[in-house]
Amino acid sequence: MDVVINFFKNAYSKIHQIFNSQKLRRIKDFTRHRLIGFNLTDGIIYKLCVYIILISISYIYIYPFARMVSYSFMNLNDLLDPTIKWIPKNPTIDNFIVVLRVLKLPTFDLSHFTSFDAFGKWLGSWGQSSIWNSTWFSLVLALCQTLVSALTGYAFARYEFAFKKFWMTMMLLSFVIPISLLMIPRVMMFSRFQDITGIKVMGTVNPQIIISLFGQGIYSTVLIIIFTNFFKMIPPVLDEAAKIDGASTLQVFYHIIIKMSISTITVVLLFSFVWNWNETYITSLFLGSGMATLPRQLGMFDTLFGQNAGTGPGGEPVNMGETYRMAATFITIFPLLIIYAFAQRKFIEGIEQTGITGE
């Protein structure tokens, strides 16, 4: 008996020794600290979890865009083929050629490149296209909005005038009022103006430009807040120094304030441009059928391809217009994608600069 007990005792102490040896313990501690960390939040396991969650959620973000790109290169056979999930078997650009016509864009054809004249004509046709309309219209609105927001922001940041607090709260409240509430009288006002003076206003770009020029454009509250908070950060000593040297108020505003805040101005311009580009509600009320903009042409797709439903091989309904729609969406988004690719840092900075998160 004794032999057996001794054997076990020995074995146990051996195992105990091995487990408690310095080397093993160090390895144990090392792995534990690496995996779990001192505080759970600095271990590998925790970071792995964070990565998994973030990447799987970003998959949901990208999924619609990936779907869009994949669909827009498919033809009808590929769309109906259940074996094809992402990569089309015979990719085509036919969708885009059809879609260009509907979106009122110049069609793409090899004949345009045969002679110099044809090419010139083709280039000229871009001038009437919806993409050109959208671009210049959004740019003009963005410039108006930026100018007025800068002036208003400067007033709020630098001057202590009567009822300042009141107007500031009014500015913040105007963000909250639903836009459709304001649109009825605005439309009535402009159409009444048209009736009285006989100048054509409705169906042109003028109403929106006027509204933007008076600081009531889309989300202009946010733009004014961005400017106000940035101007507050510029030390007032600079203004005073310039004033002592004999600069007028406008000179101070232009030579010191504006020149110092070029980066903020680009941010505001970018935001305003993108918001105006994406805006369809106000534009549809004022412009009507007067001028085609790109996102509104995209909205027309529902009436054109909405009813084109067929039956797939499994008996489930398949929308035949899907490929066209996705191609059209792709084209509409494309200019914004390019802007975002170049200026994504500016966008995020812009929101950080608003300072509405409290200083």
Binding site: Y61, V176, S180, F214, G215, Q344
Partner: protein, 356 residues
Amino acid sequence: MAKVQLNRATKRKHNIIGYLFLAPWLIGFLVFTAFPFFYTIYISFHSVTVTGLGIEYKFVDLINYINALFRDTYAWGTVTFPQTILELIMNLIIFVPTVTIISLILALLLNQNIKGRGILRTIYFLPVVILSGPVMSQFMNAGASNVEGVDHVFVYRIIWNYSPDLAEALDILFNNFSLVLWFTGIPIVLYINGLQKINRQLYEAAQIDGATSWQALWKITIPIIKPIALIVAIFTIVQIGTSPLNPTQWIIDTVMANRTTGQGKAAAYVWIYSLVMLGAIGLAVLLLRDRSKDEVFVDIRSKQDIRIARIIRRTKIKRLLNPKTFKQTFKELREEKKLKKQREKEALLGADKEEG
């Protein structure tokens, strides 16, 4: 900005130049925002006829509202306005809290010290730049915005058996899950910005006191981040109002399309919708407002003082309301005011003397 003592001349200058800079916005605000706001209230109680010669108003009481709420139907009698309003409220109840919470969670995760943070942030912000109404509805039509197969999940079945309403809410949520995520672009940036402003030393102190990171999250991060949650909630409500998630919009548009006689009616529709939206914003403010300002006085004595002052105020009001004691109380109050003013004057003089 600290309040600066200005003399009279500079005050006048500030007034004039300040208002000159403000002028374009101010005119725009009065003409295109303040006036329309009150004008829609006015015309919602009238039957409005717009002709080439002028606008005729006829007072019709509440008929526009009654029509909107009880009589009119759309889409060949299948849809009424209250139905869409209920749908809107449902959407608000489902989406606003989820967006506020999910974007907070994502911001907390993105605020960790991990590699590739910039790329992930770029992806999360992408929808803000790209999505417009038509693009969004194209995606929704293509079914690219839903997480498929929720109704096959076992837990969902259990919930459905337990309460079909909750299951329906979950259904709406998961069918538009991408939509929720697309709304989180700006909120995430706002949250991250707020998170980075929190003093690191707070966390260190908590750690030394033996708090886990979970406790630190609830006791430090969330109370500090709460005002931002309010901004996020308001922003989300406004965004939902201008997105395809707002089912009332197309009815309002169809009513508004009648440019000659429909405007009074449209105003009533829009006001009902606006009241819902403003109510939602008010609710968000009530739930998420910064209460810490009310609780500055924490020690018992100051609390007692506040209570005593409140009781005195109440008794005074009671005595004022009673016609028998009204005169005397009024006199007392006036004397008190005089005394207060005198004391303030003395204090000011004293301060001047000290400075001199």
